[in-house]
């Protein structure tokens, strides 16, 4: 098999060309490449978030962006303009990081969900303000070191996908670049649905999580396999746990990154307890309606 030829053919068709300015080991380029392969060229891209913006800089699609704190908002305007022009065949994809989605523009995401805007909203979650140099966000997990939580974060990570699901939007999913088949299937499904679709992807960040960039996929896979980041979807209010790996102890995941190195055995035990509870809840409700 001529791999060079394979690559050339793929590259020719790819909507992402010309490289990125992401850190080594960043999951961003991988993520965008995978989802754009599914979405195709009839797409308008809005936003991306500062770090994720590094990945989207050379995307060969019509794109628009304002600034960090502008999440889902101008995308609503693009959706309205397309509706006014009878061009609802075009897919509007709006992206933002965890700080944009969960903190400063949380209200905007919630409002777009409430209005059921016809777009795919993506959260590219690397669990802190990485572009400004690793500061804690509402989506930083318990215990994680950041430059603003030098002793470890005291609060829990916000469960944004579940909160968005409670807006009664047609589709919500969590994803991971370590499970590409699951990710692609979810984007494919979202593509075929009208209304507000939300995909929340946790992205490995070697720079902020403090691990060897070569181990990005390994670390991300551990996150799913320990159930620290379970892969599920909520379609029309019904929960489905898509990936059910044999559970590994969370310690394996925590020990893979230096941001957790200060955690005591007792704290790790507490985290394990939380994860067990979450796993049990998810499996108990698998296939059931979870929207109240």
């Amino acid at each position: 098999m001529d791999t060079n030829k394979l690559f050339d053919e793929y590259y020719e068709k790819s909507l992402m060309q010309g490289g990125t300015t992401c850190c080594p080991g960043c999951g961003g380029p991988l993520f965008w490449r995978m989802i754009l392969d599914v979405l195709g060229p009839n797409t308008i891209l809005y936003g991306g978030g500062p770090c994720a913006g590094c990945a989207t800089r050379n995307i060969k699609l019509p794109k628009f962006g304002l600034h960090f704190s502008f999440v889902a908002d101008a995308a609503s305007g693009i959706v309205a303009a397309l509706a006014a022009k009878g061009r609802e065949d075009i897919i509007v994809v709006s992206g933002a990081g965890d700080g944009g989605t969960g903190d400063i523009s949380f209200g905007k995401v919630s409002a777009a969900a409430e209005r059921n805007e016809n777009m795919i909203q993506i959260c590219i979650d690397n669990e802190a303000y990485m572009n400004t140099g690793i500061q804690k966000s509402g989506l930083t997990p318990f215990g994680a070191w950041t430059t603003t939580t030098p002793l470890g974060k005291e609060a829990n990570k916000k469960e944004i996908p579940m909160i968005v699901a409670q807006h009664k939007v047609p589709y919500v999913a969590t994803s991971s670049v370590a499970y590409p088949r699951d990710l692609r299937a979810k984007v494919e499904k979202a593509k075929g649905i009208k209304g507000f679709r939300y995909i929340h992807n946790v992205m490995p960040c070697p720079t902020g999580w403090r691990f060897d960039p070569a181990k990005s996929i390994e670390v991300t896979k551990l996150m799913v396999d320990t159930w620290a980041w379970p892969l599920y979807e909520v379609e029309n209010g019904v929960l489905k746990v898509n990936v059910k790996p044999k559970q590994r102890p969370v310690e394996d995941y925590l020990k893979s990154q230096n941001r957790f190195r200060h955690l005591t055995d007792k704290q790790i035990e507490w985290v394990q307890g939380n994860i067990d509870e979450k796993r049990e809840m998810l499996l108990k409700n698998d296939g059931k309606k979870i929207i109240i």
Partner: protein, 398 residues
Amino acid sequence: MSFTRMMEGNEAAAYGAMVSRAEVVPAYPITPQTELISHIATLIAEGKMRAEYIKVEGEHTAMAAACGASAAGARVFTASSSQGVAFMDEALWMPPGRRLPIVMCFVNRSIAPLGSLRPDHNDSLLQRDKGWIQLYCENSQEVLDTIIQAYKIAEDKNIYLPVAPCYDGYFVSATATVTTVPDQAEVDDFLPPYKHEMYNLMPEDYEGDSVSRRSIAESRYEVQKALDRAKTVIEEVDKDFGTKFGRSYDGFIEEYACDDAEAVLMTMGSMTGTAKDVIDEMQAQGKKIGLLKLRGFRPFPTEEIRELAKKYHAIGVVDRNSCLGSAGGGIVVQEVARALYPLDDRPKLMNFFVGLGGSDVTMRQIEYMAGKVLEAHESGKVKDEVDWVELRDLGPVM
């Protein structure tokens, strides 16, 4: 068909957006803008106006959605006031630099603390440096006409800048005056459909970033140049509008009853109507005072002010805003002073603060201010460079 009836400023603005065929309206309610957007919602619900109304959760989103819709090729209308404008501040930077021809009404209202729902001009004037074109309107008819003109100016391919028709809350927004809504076909003839030549977000036609990455200095300079060009365009559009519809507003500055005037008072917004009455009375008494109504504040009409300075020996600028700790006086007078500075022979310049927080600008106050300007002209001396008129006891209101 055109029709004429009594109409509040907010209703006139809604009709202005309707006949301009705004296609997307992202808006968030705030007093005193509220009736404007509820009128639009009603016009859409009744099928009279065809537009997508995005009921956003805040003003920051309203302006962002406006940017997205405008970039995607829709004609966009929105409006806000006071705290809403302040909350929108970050987003208001975007349309000029992105060259998006959005039209947004500032329904003027003062800003907290000591929250008043009534108007002064601090909300819109604090947006003066971003590259928005600002036109201040005196009554319902002018609001409606200025919105139509605003799209024509904004979408001129040599301009591509956002335009803000500004009008005082209550005194204009909620005061009914005789207003004509022009015929749709005539407006269509005056204002062709919107097509942006720099932006195209449609996938089939997309050819990469049409608005290239520039340095901030280059981008700001381009906006400045567009604002300079807008001076001619604003005058021309107003003139063409007059030819077509029989109403025009003297472009940037209206000289009212200035034929024999040696000194002038300069006003902006709704107080102009009251001032016109007082000036008429004073002229009847043989006083050589006239009135300048400042309609276009951005771009600032520097050249016109310099021309006017040749005719009048004293100018009293009435500021309905606060500009605390400034070089002296309100926001408008400082612009006028800068315009006058290079002249060898400058008129006497005075400044008055009135109507802050929407308190009434009374006939007695206007007579007092006009008197002070005349006095400065006659004596050749300015007694108070800055006069907080509202804090003076001028006797009973008249």
